[in-house]
Symmetry: C2
Subunit: 335 residues, 2 copies
């Protein structure tokens, strides 16, 4: 910057103003400065600006880079943040990099606020982080939390699936569950919905991956009666189960209905066509950024929660409950 100033014969201050598009400098110097800057290949040093300014205009986003639902959210977050004049710094969680490490990195980068996707950190830790920079937790239920929350009413989403299945005549509905806060939330939504319908909740432990889903199949096939429907904790689990079931000769949805959760691009592929629940990442991103802005620029200090309504996406993996007789015959045949 000093170089440019020297070359043009002005001061650093002028150059700085010109680069920040601030009224003051004359059009003539403006042009000259830009020209020389170009020639010298000058790039503003964000770190230095950051040091001088009180604000960094940086929003840190912790995400599991391999989770397509997270990357979808990140994509939207980047755009929303940009529109608000902020830049997103991604703190990736990987096999070898914990959530705590990701947060540490974001804090070192002097992010003004943190958006945490599916945080597994406990409330106390979140609170501590929040004291340094406003935290928005996305996608996870946080009872009695002191940080901002944006999430879908997962319990309700799962209940919608159960209702849908009951309407189709299903009564023998199993839940393939996941672990952690998110898994627990969905499982309890399932349980409540089943009880509300006077049905028996049946939870089998599964997980959030295709592998988990497909390894849940044998246990179900072993039963005397195949359940008439399985509500899976997410789309990937459902796809794994779907796959294993089809391999075993089970017709979905004729013999058994299967539902997912997330309404991921995968679920929408026509030859998977998974009945699922949409979490509306577009809207979650928007709300998360709004939350950040309210606390950063809007003066809000109390934590706020945004709980979005899930939306059912009916596709071809759910259908009327099978006649018991038929199902049993199918199973026999496939053995």
């Amino acid at each position: 910057m000093q170089d440019i100033a020297d070359r043009v014969g002005v001061s650093k201050a002028l150059v700085s103003m010109i680069f920040r598009d601030i009224a003051g400098p004359s059009a003539a110097t403006r042009e000259k400065v830009m020209e020389v800057a170009d020639e010298l290949g000058y790039r503003p040093n964000r770190a230095a600006a950051l040091l001088s300014l009180r604000r960094t205009k940086l929003i840190g986003v912790m995400a599991e880079i391999r989770n397509s639902f997270h990357t979808e959210l990140v994509d939207f977050l980047v755009d929303d943040a940009e529109r608000a004049g902020y830049e997103v710094v991604l703190g990736p969680v990987t096999a070898t990099r914990t959530q705590a490490q990701a947060v540490d990195m974001l804090l070192e980068f002097q992010c003004e606020a943190l958006v945490l996707l599916g945080p597994q950190l406990d409330s106390a830790t979140l609170h501590t982080i929040d004291e340094r920079a406003p935290v928005v937790s996305v996608g996870r239920r946080l009872p009695g939390s002191t940080v901002d929350v944006v999430r879908t009413a997962d319990g309700r989403g799962v209940a919608m699936l159960v209702n849908h299945l009951v309407t189709l005549g299903h009564t023998d509905i199993v839940h393939a569950s996941g672990t952690g806060a998110i898994g627990a939330d969905r499982a309890s939504g399932y349980r409540r919905a089943m009880i509300r319908h006077g049905l028996d909740p049946q939870v089998v432990v599964s997980g959030f991956t295709e592998m988990a889903g497909s390894s849940t199949a044998p246990g179900l096939l072993e039963r005397d009666d195949l359940p008439s429907a399985v509500v899976c904790v997410n789309d990937r689990c459902a796809i794994g189960l779907l796959d294993a079931m089809q391999k075993a000769g089970i017709d979905v949805p004729a013999d058994m209905s299967i539902t997912g959760y997330d309404n991921s691009p995968l679920a929408q592929l026509t030859h998977i066509a998974l009945t699922s629940v949409s979490q509306d990442p577009r809207e979650q991103a928007r709300r998360a950024v709004s939350s950040v802005l309210e606390r950063l620029d809007g003066g809000r200090t109390r934590p706020a929660s945004v709980i979005l309504r899930p939306r059912l996406s009916l596709r071809s993996t759910t259908g009327p409950a099978a006649q018991r007789e038929k199902t049993r015959r199918r199973i026999e045949r496939s053995r």
Copy 2:
């Protein structure tokens, strides 16, 4: 930092050294300083350090956040970089954020080197960027380029698919192609392989998405003879086509074989089981980071190219060429 120094009654310099684990300070002061730092919730300011140091230890990675192949690479890059003592900053390319903008952002963050995934920027631009910070282009062919390149021999990969199909007795093999440098590379690999076998290359324009793949189907179904095999430009395209074909009553691979490219997690799902070509993201990431290190810390100045051998992943979407008669009958039936 000054606060800590004051509280403990030492100088900033000591505190700095302690935080960087530098020999010198006594164990006693060390402990005292850490304690007070904890109490004050102190976090080192990376930007300030960066300003003082000559080095940022930052590697910028430009990636399409929604592209699962890119995110897979990023995941590995993060780990490899960390192992080498570097931090990765992600410059996301989205619908509203161009590659040039992503690169600008990374440069503003004072990244010491740039890893560009599938860059569409022209050679001249890449060269200009390289003058500021060493550039590694990943996954794209760059004839006569002046920057480092890490890629798979895509032409050869596609040729392997063609060879495989020819071995299975196929002769009527169509290529569903993509645009851009990558699409062109794969198309020319296809053409050369076909000619080598004395077959007629037939290229139809498709694209890199499921949508593109499925919208390629009608044109193929319209033909008097269904091609016996289709080599798609990537897995997503293949899955779209696969889907549309199955919907049209075509049995894959009995009536028609389909191949993908990338060996993505999707291709590996057992009920898709797409024959594909692996680009080995793990290895590409490793090489990209090595390239960076050689130029940053190893003193290499000449550009280097690493061209990896693709690897065939045979699965269930390819099979022996169908008898013409059978195929025709199938098609009639499905109409």
